[in-house]
Amino acid sequence: MTYIRPKFRHPDLPKNDLGYTTREYEGSLSTLCAGCGHDSISGSILQACFELSIPPHRIAKLSGIGCSSKTPNYFLGNSHGFNSVHGRMPSVATGANMANRDLIYMGVSGDGDTASIGMGQFVHVIRRNLNMVYIVMNNGCYGLTKGQDSATADAGSKSKAGSVNPFQPIDLAGLALELGASFVAQSFSGDKEQLIPLIKAAISHPGFAFINVISPCVTFNNNPGSTKSYDYVREHIEETGKTDLVPEKSEILASYESGTGTEVMLHDGTFIKLEKLAANRDPFNRMEAMNALRNARNRNEILTGLLYIETETEDLHHTINSTDRPLNTLEEEDLCPGSAVLAEINEDLR
């Protein structure tokens, strides 16, 4: 842990469309262990929001409990945030999103927070297609409580103390695909070049966007024999292709190399550009994505990149046909339209 960070920043930092530098997207100084993968993911989230020129006050960060769930403190210090209870981030996110559909919801969780105590909440938020980004910082252990195996630890993975995990892992990306998630991606904390565009695409996606990010715990799970160490992950990574998010205004066709990829238009007019897709990969086919993921697992490979996307998706607000106006902007007269309206409704029910 580092205690002090100088106030000075590089005088020539690039500025985004809002005239902000990354400084406006920083949070307080991280208290995680030096070299923790989670810090790099924080850095990627920060960079993605900066590059998309999102005004920080338009974002709400939500998390549960764990080292991973602490990270929202360390990025987007000018955004809203709620550090909730262990495994309960999805409920809080759902409530917040229902009350104010105008914010961007950035959920951050850990593999313990999601795959153990929070599993019940996780599957339901997927089912409901809540419009949010859900990032799992997956280190295969409970980092905060000193490194016990989590439910995503691979069978046969060795802990720092030398014990071998006998249980089968829960594959969170596979589960999300199975449950109908409309955006599923997988990545690695140590590959910002891949992760940043994925986060940008996830933010632009109009439904539930899930990213499972392998994020080594340097202190408790970076030992030889662990399948979540920096070295192991680097050796076993397999990319589905390159993703990029192209803002609406830029001239995408000009820079686009035909035959090498696909582009996907999102609801807001931005494009997701998929380049150098691996052979036989089709990110619009859920079955194919599930197979690809399974096949990679059988080869002991970790499939990363955008696994699946459903562009024509309807989020929870559409499904339940809620009002377009955020609930928190509704006045008393909107909510209590008076006895005349009541009488009308009653008349309908006769």
């Binding site: 920043r9 020539d12 690039p14 030096a34 790099s40």
Partner: protein, 588 residues
């Protein structure tokens, strides 16, 4: 790019911007840290070893280090490096015990030094402890050269100068004061093993315009006039004074005039104000003493009435810039007349060697400058060496000192019959500052304070006493605060590629976006794709060998705060903060 060779002593030296810019390569951050630790004597000695005149330079140095200071690139003002040097000098204890001793047995070699300025004194300082018998000649009654004859006492008190000149003369130097050397051949005939010429650039330029002759004694050549004030031959000047010229000599002339009875003193320069040669702080001090500076005025004539100087006329011009060249063209405005009882001409300074016979073996170029080797300072007569203002034209004290060190090395090699071009390597040392996980044996907390101002004596008192020092120096509390503004640029970020696991922690934590992991490329192109563009081409990129992911680590040295956060955040200590000590080798 090729991986950076940090074994090259100049690589890390260059990162210490101030030290690298200092002609004598004073280890600046090291003495500044000693000042914050209250170790003034140690801080003084670090300075003394490098620059010989810390008390003098802490008041008068041209400070090439300050524009180079990294702090000036991350906020407005550099660290007050120069004035901190003075703090060390003012607060030290008796340092005589730390001065090098003189061997009881001399080495039998005799060296003549012509001129008693900082260049000669430095040669003496370096050679006397090695057993050389040193003979120093100067036309004046005391040593110091222009530090005594030119730099006014209100900037440099006599006792400060005397003390530091004394440390050297007390090393058993044979002084021949009040002795003008009028023949090089005579000196050569005396059989010295080597002769050093440190006679400075003693001639000031006059400005001959209509009326110059009639104006007679009311027109003075600036440096001659300053010398005659310093040696107390001149005690007053007229009420209305014009000073011609925009350099530091002009600033000393106008401020001295204010102290000798000048009430309306004006500095008049040909060029635009922004292009004046004088140091900004000298200009500021002059203006503070109610001296207006009139720009774009080209002198035309001295105006004489009844056989007496009454003023000067000037043509007004404006600067026109074409293809980077500036010309002054008449603005068309009417001629300007400025009243004056006296005019001080400070429009340039020249070398002059009337005493060196052209058959002495010392060759001169068409401009009358001696042919001197830039590295060894040897002239075409192998036994004769040049340094200070005499070698390559007027510069400043610190350059004269730097020359002195190099000449001492050359003379020592020459007397030993060794090759002059094989210069001894600098002394370097690189040591980790790590004390614990987040503990360093230097203060890595970067403070936000702006530069502190050195207090000055009350203006009225200062103007009424030529010898009253204007600057009072920092008090200790302020000095320590100012010292904390130093970024410790000598504490290097040292990267060990084999330890790096490419976790990005250093990249994310670095406050000034110095570090990038990316695929290698040509320097010019690589500079554009770093986390922040590396636009300052004078600052190096520190590049590692290829890492397992086929990328390289690239660190732009430009605005690194030396805060150590990269090293604190690195889980494997691939980064370490290591203090780099670089000392220019001395003779012997």
């Amino acid at each position: 790019m090729k991986p950076t060779d940090t074994k090259n002593p100049e690589y890390f030296h260059k990162v210490v911007d101030c030290q690298y810019a200092c002609p004598a390569h004073t280890p600046v951050p090291e003495y500044i840290r000693l000042i914050s630790a209250g170790k003034y004597t140690e801080a003084y000695m670090i300075n003394w070893e490098s620059n010989v005149f810390p008390g003098v330079l802490g008041r008068t140095c041209d400070r090439p280090c300050e524009p180079a200071c990294r702090r000036g690139r991350i906020e407005e003002e550099p660290v007050a490096i120069c004035r901190l040097k003075r703090v060390a000098a003012d607060n030290k204890d008796d340092v005589r015990a730390f001065m090098p001793g003189i061997p009881s047995e001399m080495n039998g070699k005799r060296i003549a030094l012509i001129g008693g300025g900082p260049a000669s004194l430095t040669v003496a300082r370096d050679l006397a402890p090695l057993g050389y018998e040193i003979h120093l000649y100067d036309e004046h009654a005391a040593g110091g050269g222009m530090m005594r004859s030119q730099i006014p006492s209100f900037r440099l008190p006599d006792d400060v100068l005397n003390e530091e000149v004394g440390y050297i003369l007390d090393m058993g130097i044979h002084t021949h004061f009040n002795t003008y050397v009028s023949s090089m051949n005579e000196i050569l005939e005396k059989g010295y093993d080597a002769v050093f010429v440190g006679t400075g650039a003693p001639r000031g330029r006059d400005l001959v315009l209509p009326g110059r002759e009639e104006a007679g004694k009311n027109v003075h050549v600036g440096i001659e006039w300053l010398a005659s004030v310093a040696f107390e031959h001149t005690h007053k000047i007229g009420k209305k004074v014009i000073v011609l010229g925009g350099g530091n000599t002009a600033m000393d002339c106008c401020r001295t005039s204010r102290r000798l009875g000048g009430e309306e003193v004006k500095v008049v320069v040909r060029s635009p104000f922004a292009e004046m040669k004088a140091s900004p702080w000298e200009i500021e001090d002059a203006m503070h003493e109610d001296i207006p500076i009139l720009e774009n005025h080209v002198p035309k004539a001295y105006v004489i009435e009844n056989g007496k100087l009454v003023g000067m006329t000037f043509e007004k011009v404006k600067a026109v810039y074409e293809q980077g060249k500036r010309t002054l063209v008449p603005s068309g405005e009417p001629e300007v007349f400025i009243e004056a009882d006296d005019v001080l001409v400070a429009v340039g300074q020249q070398n002059s060697f009337p005493w060196i016979e052209r058959d002495s073996g010392v060759d001169f170029d068409q401009w009358g400058m001696p042919l001197v080797d830039a590295l060894t300072h040897q002239s075409t007569n192998q036994r004769v060496f040049f340094g200070g203002d005499a070698a390559f034209g007027p510069k400043n004290v610190i350059t004269a000192v730097a020359h002195g060190h190099q000449v001492a090395i050359s003379i020592d090699l020459y007397c030993k019959g060794e090759a002059l071009t094989e210069r001894p390597a600098p002394f370097t040392n690189l040591v980790s500052k790590k004390m614990g996980i987040h503990e360093w044996s230097y203060d890595n907390d970067v403070v936000n304070d702006q530069r502190f101002i050195v207090p000055q004596a009350e203006k009225k008192a200062a103007l009424s006493d030529r010898k009253l020092e204007v600057e009072l120096g920092f008090d200790i509390q302020t000095a320590i605060k100012e010292a904390h503004r130093c970024l410790n640029c000598d504490v290097q970020t040292v990267f060990e590629k084999d330890k790096c696991i490419e976790c990005d922690a250093c990249v994310d934590i670095c406050p000034t976006a110095c570090i990038t992991f990316t695929v290698n490329g040509e320097e010019a192109e690589l500079r554009t794709r770093l986390k922040a563009p590396a636009l300052n081409l004078t600052q190096d990129l520190y590049v590692s060998d290829t890492l397992p992911t086929q990328r390289v680590m690239v660190k732009d040295e430009d605005v690194c705060l030396h805060c150590g956060l990269c090293a604190e955040r690195c889980p494997t200590s691939a980064w370490d903060m290591q203090q780099y000590l670089y000392k220019v080798t001395k003779a012997g």
